[in-house]
């Protein structure tokens, strides 16, 4: 696979490594404090029945966040092996 994509574009069940956040924004600071940092592995686990929000697994726990936020987060997807 080539180049980073936004977290919301991952396929369900796909693993990725977080690449970058937008520089500012209180929400993203909280996500950092909850352990989502550049270099952190994550999996997109599922989406809610109506397509939003998303559920991701990071550092062994589950977190839900909205698509709107996920779109601003860039990740490097693992190439499917």
């Amino acid at each position: 696979m080539s180049g980073p994509i936004s977290l919301s574009k991952l396929a369900l069940g796909q693993q990725a490594v977080l690449r970058s956040f937008p520089p500012a924004g209180a929400a993203f600071l909280r996500l950092r404090e909850m352990g989502l940092l550049p270099g952190t592995r994550l999996i997109l686990v599922r989406q809610a029945p109506l397509g939003d929000p998303l559920e991701i697994e990071v550092r062994g726990y589950r977190l839900s966040l909205r698509r709107a936020e996920a779109e601003c987060i860039l990740v490097d997807p693992d190439s499917p092996s």
Binding site: A27, R32, M34, G35, P49, L50, L63, S64, R66, E69
Partner: protein, 709 residues
């Protein structure tokens, strides 16, 4: 060595009294479970983040019987608080609260199955320079996940006691109590190099905080660090705003960093996580989890958040709840009803006729009894809600509802307070403290009392019973009517939320960052305790508030006495209560209510279920017979002066609808006043809710009359 000198050796503890412990940790890591185990109290426990939203003080006893005050606090992911509940914890730890001093020692609870993220808060706590004990809770889950923690190693690295435990199963408590009762606890050995571009700023801010803001030497460094990540700190740094000197320093550093392209907050967070990663590399061993493949939690979620099954599960759960309220509660209710009637008859037989006898039977017993018979339903409701809360389903409900909630401008997190409001608006309104955005929180508070609470149940049930005399209504119709009332209240809540977000409280669409905990088998003890606790509260209310109001009401409806020989109804009309009812009759007449119902509406302003007890007093007092008839028969025989029945199906329905909307609860008004810090919002709420009630009831009554009911 005597006891007092032993105590005075305590590090960070005041001489002469036992040190105060605060329980701090991430949301849902088991703080309240541990608090209950230590103190024997019954703090609410549930499997979703944000159960505890206010501090609670208790006392634990050491192995030698020494009392040790312990404070349970709301969970927080970081000291840089983003919601009011996290702010409670931050302010408590930094000694910013006016009502309580900062704790002497800190019990830092950590979810061992999720060590890295939990250590972030620990890392911040260690900055505080107070004695800390780290409690590794949920060791059972860590073991299941194949995670092994080298406890001695962690102890050595941090230089403080680390106690593994399982709060839910009572394991490790003795070791914890032994550590807690140690007279001297070491201060943490906190080796953490603040990243170089930021370190000089922290020292400068620390010095200024000490000098210009009179911050305690212990917490000045932590406060300085917090200023750099907590957007809120400047605005709500406790009671006193920051000195201009400190603000200037902060500002000039920020300008400098911006010029250099340094993201100071992100740098700080990253450097803490670096330190944590190094620590974890030393103390964590990841083995293979006990089970391979998708966990049970995941398989449940596959169903519960499925595009089709998910909704069916949610609907099915609600349906099952209401069905059981009607069917299961039938037997205990009849039993209670019979016994209340027997008690009243026994008093009537034992005492000579007179005002005192009437006070006991028609005032106290009829009033309290009328409410008491709904105890089984209340218990079932709370049992159900307790099950939802302790399994972990609540967080999923918020997850699947988020999209719908966002349509009205709220987020899934508002769903949990709203769902709790089905039980009672007061805990629901308290639960809004987990909502980060102030406007969203206010909107949620404003609409929460529209969710049909358990105090409305007695009113609905009485009215449904009065709709058709006798027991001829099939269960299906009853459940349907009941669901209709709940649906009405719920859609009103959403509708008004939409309206308020559009007009009064416009704001950005809020965020939805929420942890989804793994499902847990509910601890039966917790669910039952919660149910009994709430049932007890209901009984206490019946025994105090409702009893009091019933007695006062009996007096108000007995005096002044009508001339000798007047009928019971004429007496009622002549009394103070009757006069009050007649006073408001012109306002409620268009809704199809007479002055007798008016008495109920006025009295139930205190609490909705008082309507039922008031009807008990008003109508039982009028039945001259020596037998106490069930209330619903008394209602069926109530008449307008022209002989037409008072409680027609239309009137019963309108009354139910009135209670769906009207803000009839003094306690809620008081809580909203406290949570919003002004009289403006509770009064607004009172006006819009009761206004809506009148308008909707008027529409229903008019249409009903047109249709010939």
């Amino acid at each position: 060595m005597n006891a007092s000198s032993a105590v005075s050796k305590t590090v960070g503890g005041p001489p002469g009294r036992a040190p105060v412990y605060a329980l701090v940790g991430n949301p849902n890591c088991g703080k309240s479970t541990l608090f209950n185990a230590l103190t024997g109290l019954k703090q609410k426990v549930g499997n979703y983040p944000g159960v505890t939203v206010e501090k609670k003080v208790g006392t634990a006893y050491s192995q030698h019987g020494q009392p040790m005050p312990v404070i349970d606090l709301p969970g927080a992911y970081s000291l840089a608080a983003r919601s009011p509940d996290e702010a409670v914890t931050r302010d408590m730890l930094l000694g910013r609260r006016l009502d309580t001093a900062a704790p002497d020692r800190i019990l830092c609870i950590v979810d061992a199955s999720n060590l890295e993220r939990n250590l972030y808060l620990v890392h911040q706590i260690l900055d505080l320079g107070r004695p800390v004990i780290v409690v590794l809770n949920m060791m059972d889950l860590a073991a299941k996940a194949g995670v092994r923690i080298k406890v001695e190693r962690l102890e050595k690295e941090l230089g403080i006691p680390v106690i593994p435990c399982e709060a839910a199963h009572g394991r490790g408590l003795i070791e914890l109590k032994l550590a807690m009762s140690r007279p001297d606890l070491p201060l943490p050995r906190h080796r953490w190099d603040i990243p170089s571009p930021i370190a000089p700023a922290v020292s400068e801010l620390q010095a200024s905080l000490l000098e210009n803001d009179r911050k305690a030497p212990l917490s000045a460094r932590a406060e300085a660090l917090l200023l750099l990540t907590d957007q809120d700190s400047v605005r709500v740094a406790g009671s006193t705003p920051l000195s201009s000197r400190t603000t200037d320093i902060l500002q000039s550093w920020k300008v400098r960093w911006e010029g250099q392209g340094v993201d100071w907050a992100a740098t700080l967070v990253a450097s803490r996580y670096d330190a944590i990663a190094r620590l974890c590399a030393d103390v964590l061993e990841r083995g293979t989890p006990e089970q391979e493949g998708a966990s049970l939690s995941d398989r449940i979620d596959g169903v519960v958040t499925h595009p089709v099954w998910g909704w069916l599960v949610l609907g099915g759960l609600m349906g099952a709840l209401f069905l059981s309220i009607f069917t299961l509660a039938e037997y205990p209710m009849t039993w209670i009803d019979d016994h209340i009637a027997q008690a009243a008859d026994a008093v009537k037989a034992a005492m000579p006729p007179g005002d005192l006898r009437d006070l006991i039977t028609d005032g106290a017993i009829a009033g309290v009894g009328g409410v008491l018979i709904f105890l089984p339903q209340i218990l079932i409701l709370f049992f159900f809600i307790g099950l939802l809360e302790s399994t972990g389903y609540m967080a999923r409900a918020a997850f699947i509802m988020d999209r719908l909630m966002s349509r009205v401008g709220l987020n899934g997190k508002s769903f949990i307070p709203l769902l709790s409001s089905y039980a009672c608006a007061i805990p629901g309104i308290m639960a809004t403290r987990t909502i980060e955005d102030a406007k969203d929180r206010l909107v949620t508070i404003l609409v929460a009392p529209l969710m049909s609470c358990s105090a409305r149940l007695p009113v609905y049930l009485l009215m449904i019973a009065a709709l058709v005399p006798g027991d001829t209504i099939p269960v299906g119709t009853k459940v349907g009517l009941m669901l209709l009332m709940y649906a009405l209240g719920t859609s009103a809540a959403f509708g008004f939320a939409w309206l308020f977000k559009r007009t009064l409280l416009k704001g950005e669409p809020p965020l939805m960052i929420m942890e989804l905990p793994p499902y847990r088998l509910p601890r039966v003890r917790d669910v039952i305790l919660q149910m009994v606790e709430r049932g007890g509260l209901f009984l206490r209310r019946a025994g105090t508030l409702i009893l009091g109001i019933s007695i006062v009401l009996w007096f108000l409806s007995t005096y002044p006495k009508a001339p000798e020989g007047a009928t019971a109804q004429a007496q009622m009309a002549h009394s103070f209560a009757g006069q009050a009812g007649q006073l408001i009759e012109p306002v409620i007449r268009p809704l199809g209510f007479d002055w007798q119902i008016g008495i109920g509406l006025i009295a139930s302003f205190a609490a909705r279920e008082v309507f039922v007890s008031t009807m008990g007093v008003v109508f039982n007092a009028q039945s001259d017979a020596d037998d106490t008839a069930p209330l619903r028969q008394a209602l069926a025989s109530a008449r307008w002066p022209d002989g037409a029945p008072l409680f027609t199906p239309l009137v019963c329905l309108t009354l139910m609808i009135f209670y769906v909307f009207a803000m009839q609860c003094v306690s809620t008004i008081a809580v909203v006043r406290r949570e919003t810090n002004s009289w403006r919002w509770p009064l607004f709420q009172l006006a819009y809710m009761t206004g809506t009630a009148w308008v909707v009831c008027f529409a229903v009554a008019s249409i009903g009359r047109l249709l010939g009911y």
